[in-house]
Symmetry: C2
Subunit: 331 residues, 2 copies
């Protein structure tokens, strides 16, 4: 099945650009409640699966041994914007492990956070690996590495950390991953279907606090993300603003190349979507449309209206266009 | 006709993202040499039509009266990155007109040029309208405004400047524009078909130096762009690097939302393309593929390989994927 139009940019009353994708809503049994495009399309979840990558951190006992807080677990699931808040937490976390920035393997990039970016520029200071949006996930990987007494190259495919991640990923998506790619942060990123990713999110959504070790881990990660939206992304960003708009009832996560997932405990449902062209504005509009459809996001909330039925303004503040859901999506 | 796949991102040996579009190659008679997708798809050319918007500047005699150089004309056709070079030229141009930055109507945004961006940040200085990537085009509009003794609101649809732009645009595309949108820089942007835009580029390509006033204007603008690639965009950017790679034989221009055009005098041909999702990496890959096909761009030139068959590296320099032309495109 082909991808179907999900989001559009209109200008001057005419369609300017259009984005197509695949999306699945799953229930707690792993069955499809509703799907658009091809539910069996194979995708790279990219950063949308960080909560899956964090499962071994908890299940192994490493998180407990290191005394990780829910805030740290939220940061382990984050694509943060390298604000002082995030960088400070990562720096302290590494110090608590007896490690330092040099032990990270995510690489350095300029932080998305304006204030921190400007501070670095004015100080003629290069960004460090703590600024990498994945440094929380990598701090989690290092916590597990230390717990397992494993070697320092924790992003290698055959490292015990990545072997544990792959096992958890395949178990929760309930699919044998057809392959992997190397992510921006150098960690392996395992492929799955949109259905598999939605199935995993539904498992998180349905996991009771007092269930199995896996369920307990899922329950804790979901609550950690939803309780700390500012750590999962940062001020102004979609994950942060939309989770705040939903008052901690739903955990959501974006991934590069226009993947978005949602964990909805009150419905015991999970969502996964991929815009085939990788356009983030479209994945943000589409996840809003699906969350509105399920009744968990207010279509008129400012965080929603920044992304769905989102008026575009130019440098002088004039309205130039609007980003909308495509006709018939989600229906 | 539907858009056809033109560019793909591969990761770990699997297709991660895909981009579709429409493209037309036209000859000097305005006929289609080859087309992909729907040649009659209506698009906003955005900044790709700046050379069309500059025609009245020359044809009116305003450029000559103001003594504009070819470098200034190249800047009038530019989406520059607000480097010191560009901002300095715009500032002097406005002063020569007896005007200032406050007379611009493009709005201010942070420059794309790193050095100038960092200079502003460290000086706690806000970007001004001269930093806007369209400030050269607007300096051209102001030159024409002054020549016509017209009012200061030169971006309004019924201002003599925009009326002249619309007339030239419709004549050279050989189509009645079905409408307009407001561009990022507040100027009207007239819609046309991909065919109409390619037809206009072919007219530029075929225009002789000693032809009609319009042909002379087209000839001069094409040569001005091709002779000053650093002014049309800036260091590291596609237009600049690819025009350099073609040694001034071809003029090319990108536009927002993934439009790209090319003027190829030696073939008396024009190209226009639009990636429907607005993804710039795909419009850059697709224009490279078409220029290679026409024999005017070396597929192995570093500027080409940055955009077509372009190896993607992550923050640690590891290869993570590749951007390629889609199978069958351009054939």
């Amino acid at each position: 099945m082909a991808a179907i139009p999900m989001a559009e940019l209109w200008r001057g009353g005419m369609l300017e650009s259009t984005h197509s994708g695949h999306a699945v809503i799953c229930d707690e049994t792993g069955h499809i409640v509703e799907a658009w495009g091809d539910p069996e399309a194979v995708i790279f979840p990219r950063s949308s699966c960080k909560m899956l990558q964090a499962l071994p951190l908890i299940e192994s006992g490493a998180a407990q041994a290191a005394g990780l807080t829910d805030a740290q677990l939220a940061l382990a699931c984050a694509s943060h914007q390298g604000a002082g808040l995030h960088v400070g937490m990562v720096t302290r976390w590494l110090a608590d492990l007896g490690l330092s920035e040099a032990d990270l393997r995510c690489g350095a990039h300029e932080p998305y956070d304006r204030a921190e970016r400007d501070r670095l520029i004015c100080a003629h200071e290069a960004p460090c690996q703590c600024h990498n949006n994945c440094s929380g996930k990598h701090s989690g990987f290092l916590t597990l590495t230390k717990h397992l007494k494993a070697g320092p190259e924790y992003v290698e495919l055959d490292h015990p950390v990545q072997r544990a991640v792959k096992a958890a990923f395949e178990e929760v998506t309930d699919e044998a991953s057809p392959g992997y790619g190397i992510d921006g942060c150098s960690a392996p990123n395992f492929a799955t279907t949109v259905h598999g990713l939605a199935r995993a999110m539904a498992a998180f959504a349905a996991a009771p606090e007092g269930g199995s070790a896996r369920q307990a881990a899922m329950h804790r990660l979901t609550r950690a993300m939803a309780a700390h939206p500012e750590l999962v992304a940062g001020e102004g960003r979609a994950c942060t603003e939309l989770m705040r708009a939903m008052d901690g009832r739903v955990a959501i996560k974006t991934g590069a190349e226009a993947v978005f997932v949602a964990i909805i405990p009150e419905r015991k449902m999970g969502i996964a979507l991929k815009i085939v062209d990788g356009g983030t504005r479209a994945s943000e509009a589409a996840i809003c449309a699906l969350l509105v459809r399920l009744g968990v996001l207010d279509p008129d909330h400012p965080a929603t209206l920044k992304r769905l039925n989102a008026v575009q303004k130019n440098w002088r503040g004039f309205e130039t266009g609007i980003v909308k859901a495509a006709p018939g999506f989600p229906g």
